[in-house]
C-alpha cells in the first residue's frame, strides 16, 4: 500500500513537473534528449581557410486553404539546419487572391556592420510572400519562430534583425541545442547571431564578417553540440563533487538501510 502511494505521489509530481517544465522549455524542444545527435560543421558564405563553404538556401511553397495559411516549416539543408522558420497555422495575413505561401531562406552578405560585437556565422534573409511576390505580414497573436544556428561551439549569441538601416537585437531563446538561437518574430528581414564584444574577443568570430578566427570545428564542448566554454568544466566539477561525496560516505559512515533492517 505504501509502495502504491509512493508510486502515485511520484506520478503526480512527475506530471506536474513535466507541465511546468514544458511551459518554460525552449522552442521546439522535444520531450527527451537521447539517441544520436549529429551536427554538421558550420558552412560559411565566406569561409575562412579550411572551413566549409556553400551554405544552402531553401524555398518552400505551401498551399493556402480556406483563406488561412497552413502550418509552415522551412529550413536550410544542413544538419541541423543553419536557419529555420516555423509558423503556426493562420500565422500570416493573406491578401485577396493569394493561393500559396512561399518561404525563402538564403544566406547573404552582411548588409551593414553590427553596432557592437560581431556576427557569428552567416546573415540569413528570410522572406515570406504569396505566389505573386507580395510580402506577407505576421498575424497578431500568432507564433512565427525563426531559429538560427551559430558556428559550432558558439553558445552565447543573441539574434539580431536588420531593420532596413540598422541591426536591432530581438528577444532570443535557446533553440534546443546550445548553438541554436530562436526568436518569435514580429517581422521578417535579415537575421543573424551576434556575439557580444567580450565574447568575440574569445576567438569565435571576426568582426562583422561571420568568419571565425579559430577553427570552426573547434568546439569547446568537445562534442557536436558542445556546452560552451565553461560547461564541460562545470559538469566535471559537479560530477567530481558527487564522486567525492560518495567516496567520503564510503570511508566515513552510512549504512545500508535494507541490510540493516530498514525494510
Amino acid at each position: 500500500m505504501a509502495c502504491r502511494r509512493s508510486a502515485w505521489l511520484t506520478l503526480s509530481l512527475g506530471f506536474v513537473l513535466l507541465v511546468l517544465a514544458g511551459r518554460v522549455a525552449p522552442v521546439g524542444q522535444p520531450p527527451l534528449y537521447d539517441g544520436v545527435v549529429v551536427e554538421d560543421p558550420y558552412r560559411y558564405l565566406t569561409p575562412p581557410p579550411g572551413a566549409p563553404g556553400n551554405p544552402t538556401s531553401t524555398s518552400d511553397t505551401a498551399e493556402i486553404a480556406q483563406g488561412r495559411s497552413p502550418l509552415v516549416y522551412s529550413g536550410t539543408l544542413e544538419n541541423p539546419p543553419q536557419a529555420q522558420l516555423i509558423a503556426d497555422e493562420g500565422a500570416f495575413v493573406i491578401p485577396a487572391g493569394s493561393t500559396s505561401v512561399i518561404t525563402t531562406i538564403r544566406p547573404i552578405a552582411p548588409p551593414a556592420p553590427v553596432p557592437s560585437g560581431s556576427l557569428a556565422g552567416n546573415v540569413y534573409e528570410i522572406r515570406v510572400a504569396n505566389q505573386g511576390g507580395i510580402d506577407l505580414a505576421i498575424q497578431q497573436g500568432k507564433t512565427v519562430t525563426v531559429v538560427l544556428r551559430a558556428p559550432n561551439g558558439v553558445t552565447n549569441g543573441t539574434l539580431y534583425r536588420f531593420s532596413g538601416n540598422a541591426w536591432v537585437a530581438v528577444k532570443t531563446e535557446n533553440g534546443g541545442l546550445p548553438d541554436l538561437f530562436a526568436t518569435n518574430a514580429t517581422q521578417f528581414g535579415d537575421f543573424a547571431v551576434v556575439l557580444a564584444s567580450a565574447a568575440s574577443s574569445a576567438g569565435n568570430a571576426a568582426p562583422s564578417l561571420g568568419i571565425p578566427t579559430a577553427s570552426p570545428s573547434a568546439s569547446s564542448g568537445g562534442g557536436s553540440g558542445g556546452g560552451g566554454d565553461s560547461t564541460p568544466w562545470i559538469v566535471i566539477g559537479l560530477v567530481a563533487a558527487a564522486v567525492a561525496a560518495g567516496l567520503l560516505w564510503t570511508l566515513f559512515g552510512g549504512s545500508d538501510r535494507t541490510a540493516s533492517g530498514g525494510t
Partner: protein
C-alpha cells in the same frame, strides 16, 4: 538525510522484478553508488568527446555509451529479469505522456536539431540501446543504490538530477528543467510497474518519436 518509512518498501519490489543486486555478491552500497556515478560521468564525457560531426561517429559514440552504461550497472550488481507484460503497457502510456504533453503545450512544429541521422533502422537501434542503457543504470542500479542508502526520495532525486546533468555536455543547460521532470516521471513509472522495463519502454518510445516530430 532521513527518508519516510515507505521508502525502502517501494525500492524492494523493484529489485525482485527487474534488478536483483541482492542476489549477487554486491559491493558495499556506498562504493556501489560511487562507482555508478563515476561510471556514468566517464561514459557521458567520453560520449560527448567522441560524438564528432558525422553520422558514423555519432552512432558509434551512442552505441558505446549505451553498452558502457549497461556494463557499469552489471559490474555494480544489477541483473536483468523478465519483465511482466503489464510493464510494457505502463511504459507505452508513460511514453504517450512524454510525447503528448510537449505537443499540447507547443502545438507548432518542432525545430530540427540534427536528431535524424543515418538510416532509420540503425538510428532506431542505437536510440533504443542508449535509452535502455540509461534506464538500466539510472532507474535500475543507481536508483537501487541510493534507495538503499538514503530512501526512495533520494533515489528519485539523484537519478533525476543525474539524468538531467548527463545531457548537458551535448545539449546545454536549457534541457535541465525538462529532463529533471522527465526523470521524475520515469522514476514514477518504475515505482508503478516494479521494474525498469516500463521506464525503458517509455524512454525509448519518446526518443524514437523525435524522428517524426
Amino acid at each position: 538525510m532521513t527518508a519516510p518509512a515507505v521508502s525502502t518498501a517501494a525500492i524492494a519490489p523493484a529489485n525482485r522484478s527487474a534488478s536483483s543486486p541482492a542476489a549477487v555478491s554486491a559491493p558495499h552500497p556506498g562504493r556501489r553508488a560511487a562507482w555508478l556515478v563515476l561510471g556514468l560521468a566517464v561514459a557521458t564525457l567520453a560520449r560527448a568527446a567522441a560524438n564528432g560531426h558525422t553520422t558514423t561517429t555519432a552512432l558509434a559514440a551512442g552505441s558505446a555509451f549505451g553498452v558502457a552504461l549497461i556494463c557499469v550497472a552489471l559490474v555494480a550488481g544489477w541483473r536483468p529479469a523478465r519483465p511482466p507484460l503489464r510493464s510494457l503497457g505502463i511504459g507505452a502510456l508513460g511514453a504517450a505522456v512524454l510525447v503528448g504533453l510537449p505537443l499540447l503545450l507547443h502545438p507548432a512544429a518542432m525545430s530540427a536539431m540534427g536528431m535524424r541521422p543515418g538510416p532509420l533502422v540503425v538510428w532506431a537501434a542505437v536510440t533504443i540501446l542508449v535509452a535502455t542503457g540509461e534506464e538500466v543504470l539510472l532507474r535500475g542500479a543507481l536508483f537501487d543504490a541510493f534507495g538503499r542508502l538514503y530512501g526512495l526520495w533520494a533515489a528519485v532525486l539523484v537519478s533525476s538530477l543525474a539524468f538531467a546533468i548527463m545531457h548537458v555536455p551535448l545539449y546545454g543547460w536549457a534541457v535541465v528543467p525538462l529532463d529533471i521532470a522527465a526523470g521524475v516521471w520515469l522514476c514514477a513509472l518504475r515505482l508503478s510497474s516494479g521494474g525498469i522495463a516500463a521506464p525503458a519502454v517509455a524512454h525509448a518510445l519518446a526518443d524514437l518519436a523525435t524522428w517524426w516530430l
